[in-house]
């Protein structure tokens, strides 16, 4: 409202009056920066030569703020800012804790690397159809989902990145892409609708949408309010987003159709947002309900792990194989959610970080295999070991990482999860984690033997490399992505420590609540 000059209105009862420092802006910067750059790219849609570099500057700035945010959160606890100066829960709060900041940073790094890979992978027509603007807006949605502290706002960011992902999926307008995108769109809309229904129901029950406010009111409402229903609805909605069995069928139907960079981004990021939302709602908001649902979540996790990797064993298209491995990985994270203990949750969080990195790397690897070997199909790929030793080395380390063997990053989260399962006497979960790791080794070993080790038959027509551009940039990008994967494998202590902080932030939400409501009032 415009205040007439000379008239002083007391607004302290409704508005935040304390000045906001530059550090507080860290919580919103990873969302505002991609929106600004996405808007700029949209305005200058036809200056396609500059798209790549502008997007890289934007994503670089975003990653920079995310690093600063994570360091700040680790040092000082959760950081919160409420939009428009309105007091929470009336204003929309952005609240970053260690979990959100870690996921945001990892996704930012993945997006940055994908944007570099896209410089060579996305051609002029892809740029004309707006690859980079979509990428920026996708990242705005992803960061927003990880950093928001308001459950309806979470829904909005889900919409933002889902709509951007539609655009990225159909880039190129091929028939298979439209087919995949339709399935993806319809199934995602069903999940989003469930999410919205659950949120409407939650608002009717609690009268608030602020997650910190819900967390502190849940205890008092437990006796009378239908919290079980809410938790189950969220489990179904986010389980669908995360591609958990039996609502995972949309993922294999669509992830093999788009450009390889898009598939890498989706495989790396999108399912993890579902997992993040599950952790946030079920562990932080409805912990009692989660422990009632734990057996169900455990079975869902076991089936997702095992059936996902079995799907991978049955495929011959490398992109479909990796799609099923994404699903199997979601099962591993759900195992941590089913356990709900400190160790189990930090295992799940560490596995999510690992999974963002390796799944993106796997898809980029398959893009390189297609370029250098001429095909996505295991029936046609052969002899890559002789022609591309460097790619073979990368593929080997990556396969070990995904399967959870040293020196890759998959080992430690699985160690944590198995340890937590044994502590909780959940033998079935521990067995399933180990079995799925074993089957993943077989699935990726099959890819490795057929595509790399098998000699090309002399009579077979040599498949032509499809991209004549030099593969140096592709190798550089893959190697850059291998660095965190290997570091996470050989020197895991700092990462485990961060995951521990994130997990205890979920289990003991007092820090999160006091970041939003400093004096306990509001």
């Amino acid at each position: 409202m415009a205040v007439e000059p000379g008239k002083i209105v007391d607004v302290t009862a409704a508005m935040i009056t304390a000045p906001v420092t530059a550090t507080d802006w860290l919580v919103i910067a990873p969302v505002v920066i991609p929106i600004l750059f996405g808007a700029l790219l949209l305005m200058f849609r036809h200056e396609m030569r500059w798209h790549g570099i502008v997007a890289l500057i934007g994503l670089g700035a975003m990653v920079g703020t995310e690093v600063a945010l994570l360091l700040h959160v680790l040092a000082n606890g959760p950081l919160s800012m409420t939009m428009g100066s309105w007091l929470p829960p009336f204003g929309i709060s952005f609240t970053a804790d260690a979990l959100g900041a870690t996921f945001a940073l990892t996704s930012g790094i993945v997006a940055f690397i994908c944007a570099i890979f896209a410089i060579r992978d996305i051609n002029v027509s892809g740029r004309r159809y707006g690859f980079y603007p979509f990428l920026m807006l996708l990242m705005a949605g992803v960061s927003g989902a990880f950093l928001t502290g308001d459950i309806f706002n979470l829904y909005v960011w889900f919409e933002v990145f889902v709509i951007s992902s539609f655009g990225l999926l159909i880039l190129g307008s091929e028939k298979a892409q439209i087919d995949g995108a339709t399935k993806y769109a319809i199934l995602n809309l069903v999940a989003t609708t469930l999410f919205l229904i659950a949120t409407g129901y939650l608002y009717g029950t609690f009268g608030t949408l602020n997650m910190a406010d819900i967390a502190r009111k849940a205890e008092g409402l437990r006796g009378t309010a239908p919290l079980m229903t809410l938790a189950s609805l969220y489990l179904l909605a986010f389980g669908m987003k995360a591609a958990a069995f039996p609502v995972n069928f949309w993922l294999p139907a669509s992830y093999h159709t788009p450009r390889i960079v898009t598939a890498a981004l989706f495989g790396g990021l999108l399912t993890k947002i579902g997992v993040y939302a599950l952790l946030r709602t079920l562990v932080m908001l409805f912990p009692v309900e989660r422990s009632v649902l734990a057996d169900l979540i455990g079975w869902v996790a076991i089936l997702t792990m095992v059936l996902g990797v079995m799907g991978a064993l049955a495929q011959s298209d490398t992109r479909r194989i990796f799609g099923f491995l994404v699903i199997s990985g979601v099962g591993v994270m759900l195992a941590g959610l089913a356990l709900g203990t400190q160790t189990g949750l930090s295992g799940a969080i560490l596995y999510a970080v690992h999974s963002m990195l390796v799944m993106t790397a796997l898809y980029l690897l398959t893009g390189m295999m297609k370029e250098l070997g001429g095909s996505f199909s295991l029936r046609e790929l052969a002899g890559l070991y002789r022609s591309t030793p460097l790619l073979t080395a990368i593929a080997l380390v990556l396969a070990l990482a995904v399967a959870g063997l040293p020196p890759g990053s998959g080992l430690w989260p699985k160690v944590l999860l198995v340890k937590a399962s044994l502590e909780a006497n959940q033998w079935a979960l521990a067995g399933a984690v180990l079995l799925s790791g074993f089957l993943t080794t077989i699935a990726l070993g099959r890819v490795f033997i057929l595509a790399f080790w098998r000699d090309r038959e002399a009579s077979a027509p040599k498949a032509q490399a499809t991209n004549t551009a030099s593969p140096i940039l592709g190798y550089g990008v893959l190697l850059a992505l291998m660095v965190p994967i290997v570091v996470l494998g050989v020197y895991p202590e700092p990462f485990i420590k961060i995951a521990d902080i994130a997990a205890s932030g979920l289990l003991h939400n007092a820090g999160y609540i006091s970041a939003v409501f400093p004096v306990g009032g509001g």
Binding site: A2, W25, L42, M81, S85
Partner: protein, 139 residues
């Protein structure tokens, strides 16, 4: 729809609707209206113009590509929130100023620029959808 009556009426209708959309946009702060509804009215004005004279004519008279317009709207909306940084208040806080122009006090605020941004996003995106659909019909 190239009838004489419609083609004669369309330019008047379009300009009236565009004027009205700006009125609705500015009225929106304290009364019913605002950027979203104003943008829809403006987009329908462009659609009417397109039905009467064809899509190329609309694109020529709009000068900027509709997508670029919505990009600018998004940019403007985000910038109006960023102005809070300078004043040490949280993102998207409304900041007001009341300069006096020729003896008339004009209340300007970041809220208004945000709303203009919304208006442009809606005009740009809905117009580009409408034009793409009309083009398909012509071709």
């Amino acid at each position: 729809m190239r009838t004489l009556i419609f083609r004669t009426a369309a330019p008047y209708l379009t300009s009236l609707m565009l004027l009205f959309s700006v009125f609705v946009l500015l009225r929106g702060h304290n009364e019913p209206g605002g950027g979203f509804i104003g943008g829809l009215i403006a987009a329908s004005a462009f659609a009417i113009y397109g039905i009467a004279f064809g899509v190329p004519e609309v694109r020529r008279s709009m000068y900027f590509h509709p997508m670029a317009i919505s990009g600018f709207g998004l940019f403007l909306a985000a910038l109006s929130g960023l102005l809070s940084y300078v004043f040490h208040v949280p993102f998207l806080t409304g900041i007001w100023t009341s300069p006096s122009l020729f003896g008339i006090t004009v209340d300007l605020s970041t809220v208004m620029f945000f709303d203009i941004g919304v208006y442009l996003v809606v005009v740009g995106s809905i117009t580009s959808i409408a034009l793409a659909l009309e083009e398909r019909e012509d071709g």
